[in-house]
Each structure stands twice: as structure tokens, then as C-alpha cells.
Amino acid sequence: MSAIQLEVLLQTLISGVLLGGLYALIGIGMTIIMGVMKIINLAHGELMMVAMYIAYVLFSTFHIDPYLSIVVAAPALFLLGVGLQKYLINPVLKVDSILPENQVILTVGIGMVLANLATIIFQSDYRQTPVSYSTKAWYLRDYWKDSPVDTSLSLPWTVSFAVALLITGGLWFFLTKTDMGKSIRATAQDLDAAQLMGVNVERMRVITFGLGSSLVGAAGCLFIPIYYIYPDIGGQFTLISFVITILGGLGSTVGAIIGGLILGLFESLTATYIGMGWAPVGRFVIFVAALIFIPGGVASLLRSRKLGK
């Protein structure tokens, strides 16, 4: 392998890991909601869109850095999620209906309402937050002059990735070390048993939906310095998180992280070695392959190898 080929491979792997880390954060939000609620939240991407617009407004009116706007957007999304769960989804859960999964359909509706509200408020313009560091990068050759390869590491991508890691770490701590986190996990594992042990299941549901929303909200703030927004952006991210959730195993946080990384790497490698036009095909190949060969997702593999809990 020549140096130039090695450089292409390394750059591809770097891109894949950075993208995968961001994908993972989007996926985790959906998967914890899935775990506790047993429904797929199809408004997931639209919630991310809302957070991106919050970051955009903060940037364009108050010049607040998109990364700092996480502090505003994540709690705002938490409240939005809590509200949606409490006043829209919970009431529907209690109603018997002919459709078995009418909460899922409800989330589709919520997503549409959010997207169209955004169209009314912001028009369908593409918007960006042109931050000064958006094309800053570190280059290997700047640090090691005679390096045979010259790979680069984009500053905003790296920061986004690092913040995603931090948030994921924080989430792990919350879920394993705190009482409330343990209650959420208990609810996810066995609803009836959790209820018998005195866990306020309804409250856990509300908090989980809020938590999932604020995670994807944070992801939105991490995406906006490297991407752009328009009101219909949600769909593609709902799709990505859906694939990650299936790939990782429904409800598994560790699975979602690994699933996100796999998807990111897979997309990057497809783009380099097959063709970028094939990336969406690759995404669905992974989706179908996961359903057929590992129906329980990465989480089931971990469990059977006794690596997971």
C-alpha cells in the first residue's frame, strides 16, 4: 500500500469515527425512549430540527456560539419532550384503539406539526451558522514534518465528537449510578416488576422522553456548525437513528454507540471505496442485514458473549 492510499484510508477512518460518534448521540436518544416506552419515536429528527433552530436563533440574534447553545437547547428540548409525553402521548397510551401502535402514529403527526411550524416561522430557507472556526483543522504534517501521510482533523468535527463523548459518558453515569437512572433502567427491563418495587413508572416515562429529546437536542447543536438547517431536515435523521436503534438492539445504549460507529464507518468506507452515491444503499443494506442476521442487534451479541450486563 502506497503512502497516498494509506492516507486515503486513514482519512476515511477518521471521518467515519467522527461521523459515527455524532450518529451515536442521535441514536441514543431514540433508543432510550424505545427502551422505556416500547415505541419508536418518529418525531426524533424533528426534535433535533427544533434544537438546531434554537441554536440558529441564538447565534443570529445574540451571537452565541452554537456549542454554548447546548446549555439552552438541551433543557428546552427536555421540557418540550416532557410536555409532549405528558399531554399528548400518555393520554393516547391509555385509550384503547383499533390501531395497536397509535402512539407511533401520533409521533409522526407531532413531527409533521413541528416541521410545518418551522416552515411558517423560518420559511424554507437553508440557514447556517457561519462560525469563524468552521474550516479550521489540524494537519499531521504541521506537527510531524516528515510524516509520509498528511491527514487532517477538522476542528468543529472534533469538538462535536468530543462533546458527544462527554454527553454519552454523562448519560452512562446517570443511568448506572443514580437512583433515577436505575429506576429508568428498571422500567425498561420489566415494567410490572418496576411498578411493584415502587417505581413511579409514569413519571419515568415522562422523564425518559424528556431525556431522549434533550440528547437529540444536544446532537442538533453539535451538528449545526458543520451542517445546515431547513425545516424538513428531520426525516433523514429520524431514519439514521432508526437504523442505529435496530442495529444496536432496541433499547440498548451501548448497542446504540456501537451501532452509530458502525454506521459512520460503513458510510465513510462505502463513500471511498464504492462511491458516495451508494451511501444510502449501504445504510439500508446494514439495516436489512441487521434484521436478518442479528435480530436483537449488537446488544444481543454482547449479551451472548457475556460482555454486556
Binding site: Q5, N116, S124, D125, Y126, Q128, D150, Y230, P231, A271
Partner: protein, 396 residues
């Protein structure tokens, strides 16, 4: 669903009562174009330009004493929606001429409907070559075909850059594909080898895998056909990877609108793009239109706007000359069009395998200090071109 369709429904309900009274002294023209969805930005530029044109025409007394009453329908950039809108316009509203649409896929769908129902259709800014090669009798195109979009850029490459190798990146749409194919053919004409030709999906986030492949191939010129967002992301990420091609060139669309410079900032500097029109041209009315648009909306319009603006004058001209306002009479009048507009001289010709196609000059623009400057052909240049361009490391 969308704000606009609500308004449309509203207007429609009122329209039932109001129309008979109004119909006498207005000519209703409903224009399908994308106002939401991905191509909405272009739809917006065009909508504003149509409105400016209608205002001017009406101020001068309208067409045969009738004022043009414009309204718009949002096709969201989806061919099936565009098709449905136009079917409705022709079948139930009996509109004798169709003007509008933006994406090539939509224009194709509309062209098929128009031809089938024998109603003239004036294409304003859809580039795919195919549309006017189908021996349609009722389909007219005012803008240049994709095969010629790059003419000015190609002659710039041929005479100034003289590249030995070229990489072509394009988005997987009708517009992107035909633009890339045209450049591949042109590359052979100036003796450059195509070292890489790759497509990508719209909405893609990370172009770095693709771009590092481009970097490894070390082409002299990187030619990209894309809409605004991808154009922005590609240039930003090319800067991140420090890909030092001798020249970055774009095939109009996303590289020729102000959003590109706003989004890509310094990464946009020195990028050369094909375009069909610039505000700096000395066509009659070009500068006036550009200034009027800028005064109203803050930015100069792109060629999409100029073409839309001119299209309404072409329509009004045809309506004035038509014997009566039946689709066939308007079609014959359009065919005989010979009009100097702010966009370009308009004349619909049958040649090179195209029918009812307006062939006009194209231009090359370059981003210099955050502004578009016309650089080629020299007779139209507003600033001299900057070539060779400094490498990424040398910039600041």
C-alpha cells in the same frame, strides 16, 4: 399543510365568488415553482423576480389592456406534485400557457403534461438537455441547455488554465448527471484526462472520504455540479483537507448564488463558476432589474431570477402578438419570439437536436474578496481573473 396552500384554499374559496367579476380585466397566470422543500431557495428568488416583472408590465398597462394577475403554487420540488398542479391548471382552470418550475425533474414532468394537452410551456431555469430533445412541439426553453452551461468555463479552462487532468463531482439528479456528462465530453475537447468522476446524494453530511480520494488523484481542476448546500460543504471540507487543485470550478446552480459565499466564507474565494447571467452584464434592463431586486431583498439576484423576470416579458410579448388567447395561437406566437430581454436575447430555435431552444451566451464568474465578479468572456469581464490561485497554506 403549508402556509401557502392554506392561503391558496382561502383564496380559492373567496375566488369562487370574486372571480367572475375580476376575470374581465385580468389575465390570471398561476406559476408552479418550489417554495418549500430542498429547492425552495431558488423558488423564492424566482417568485420575487416574477413579481417585479408583473409589476412593471402592469404599470405599463398590462397585456392588451389586461393586467397580469400572478399567483404561485408550491410544487415542493417533487415531479408528481408539479404534474398534478399543471394538470389542474390546464384541465380545470383552462390556463392557455404554463410558465415556471425549477428542477429538471419537475420540468420534465410538466413538459410531458403540456405536450399531451397541447398547451405551450415556457421553461425558465431547468437545464437537463433531454427536455427539449424530445420533439415536443409545445415546450419552449428560455435558459441555455446543460450541455452549454459550462461553455464560458470551458473556454476559460482551454485558454487560461490548460489543465491536464480533471475530477468531476456531481449530485445524482438529472441536472447533476447531465452537467457532469457535458463536462466529460468538453474535457476531451481540451485534452484533459478525467481522473475521477463521482456522484453524491443531496443531503450528504460528510464529503471527506470522497474528497480524500480526489486529493489522492491530484487533479489540476476539480469541477463540481451541485446545489447550494453541497457546494458549500464541499468547499469547506476541501479547505479542511487542503486539496490544492490549480482551480476549483462549479457548474452554475449552487455555485452561482449569494448563499454559497455566505456559507463557505473564505473557502469560497477564487472558485470559478459557470453562470447564465450576472448583474454586471450590459443587456438592456439587466442592471436596473438587479438594482431593483437588491434594493428590495438585500442581495443581487442569480441567473434564476433574471430568467424568471425575463420569462414574464417573453410571455407578455407572446400574448400581445398572439391572434387570440388559445393555446395554439400562443404557441405560434412564442415560436416567433424575437425579443431582447434583461436576461438574454430570446429566440426559440431548432438546432443541434434541440427544439424550441433559446441558445444564449454563458459566462464565468469568480469569487473575489467575497463578491461574484464576471471574468469570462473578456468582453463582459467586470474584473480580471485571478489565476493561478494561491494554495490553501498561502492564504492568510
Amino acid at each position: 399543510m403549508k402556509q401557502l396552500s392554506l392561503i391558496t384554499i382561502f383564496l380559492f374559496l373567496f375566488g369562487i365568488f370574486a372571480l367572475p367579476a375580476l376575470a374581465a380585466d385580468t389575465f390570471d397566470l398561476v406559476i408552479p415553482l418550489p417554495l418549500t422543500g430542498k429547492p425552495a431557495k431558488f423558488g423564492e428568488i424566482m417568485k420575487r423576480s416574477y413579481e417585479i416583472a408583473a409589476e412593471e408590465i402592469n404599470a405599463k398597462g398590462g397585456v392588451k389592456g389586461k393586467k397580469i394577475a400572478l399567483s404561485f403554487e408550491d410544487s415542493t420540488g417533487k415531479p408528481e406534485t408539479a404534474r398534478a398542479i399543471v394538470e389542474k391548471l390546464i384541465d380545470s382552470k383552462k390556463q392557455p400557457i404554463i410558465v415556471g418550475e425549477y428542477t429538471s425533474a419537475c420540468a420534465k414532468a410538466v413538459a410531458a403534461v403540456a405536450e399531451e394537452r397541447k398547451t405551450p410551456y415556457l421553461i425558465v431555469a431547468s437545464a437537463d438537455d433531454d427536455i427539449t430533445q424530445k420533439h415536443y412541439k409545445y415546450v419552449f426553453r428560455q435558459n441555455q441547455v446543460n450541455a452549454h452551461y459550462g461553455d464560458a468555463v470551458v473556454s476559460f479552462l482551454k485558454e487560461v488554465v490548460k489543465p491536464k487532468t480533471i475530477a468531476i463531482l456531481y449530485e445524482s439528479s438529472a441536472f447533476g448527471t447531465s452537467g457532469a456528462d457535458a463536462m466529460e465530453k468538453d474535457a476531451a475537447s481540451f485534452g484533459a484526462k478525467v481522473v475521477l468522476k463521482e456522484k453524491f446524494e443531496t443531503g450528504a453530511i460528510d464529503f471527506k472520504p470522497l474528497l480524500s480520494k480526489v486529493k489522492a488523484a491530484q487533479p489540476d481542476v476539480i469541477y463540481t455540479v451541485a446545489y447550494a448546500n453541497e457546494a458549500t460543504l464541499i468547499m469547506k471540507q476541501a479547505k479542511e483537507l487542503r486539496i490544492d487543485a490549480k482551480l476549483y470550478a462549479g457548474g452554475a446552480a449552487g455555485f452561482a448564488i449569494p448563499e454559497f459565499i455566505k456559507g463557505a466564507q473564505d473557502a469560497a474565494e477564487y472558485v470559478v463558476s459557470a453562470t447564465l447571467w450576472t448583474p454586471q452584464l450590459n443587456y438592456p434592463g439587466a442592471r436596473e432589474f438587479a438594482e431593483k431586486y437588491k434594493a428590495k431583498y438585500g442581495d443581487y439576484p442569480s441567473y434564476h431570477g433574471a430568467s424568471a423576470y425575463a420569462a414574464l416579458f417573453v410571455t407578455a410579448d407572446a400574448l400581445t402578438r398572439a391572434k387570440n388567447w388559445t393555446p395554439d395561437a400562443i404557441r405560434d406566437a412564442l415560436k416567433a419570439t424575437h425579443l431582447k430581454t434583461a436576461y438574454a436575447p430570446v429566440k426559440f430555435e431548432d438546432k443541434e437536436g434541440y427544439q424550441n431552444q433559446n441558445f444564449h451566451e454563458t459566462f464565468a464568474i469568480q469569487v473575489q474578496k467575497g463578491e461574484f465578479e464576471t471574468i469570462w468572456p473578456k468582453s463582459h469581464a467586470s474584473k480580471p481573473y485571478v489565476y493561478p490561485v494561491p494554495s490553501w497554506k498561502e492564504r492568510k
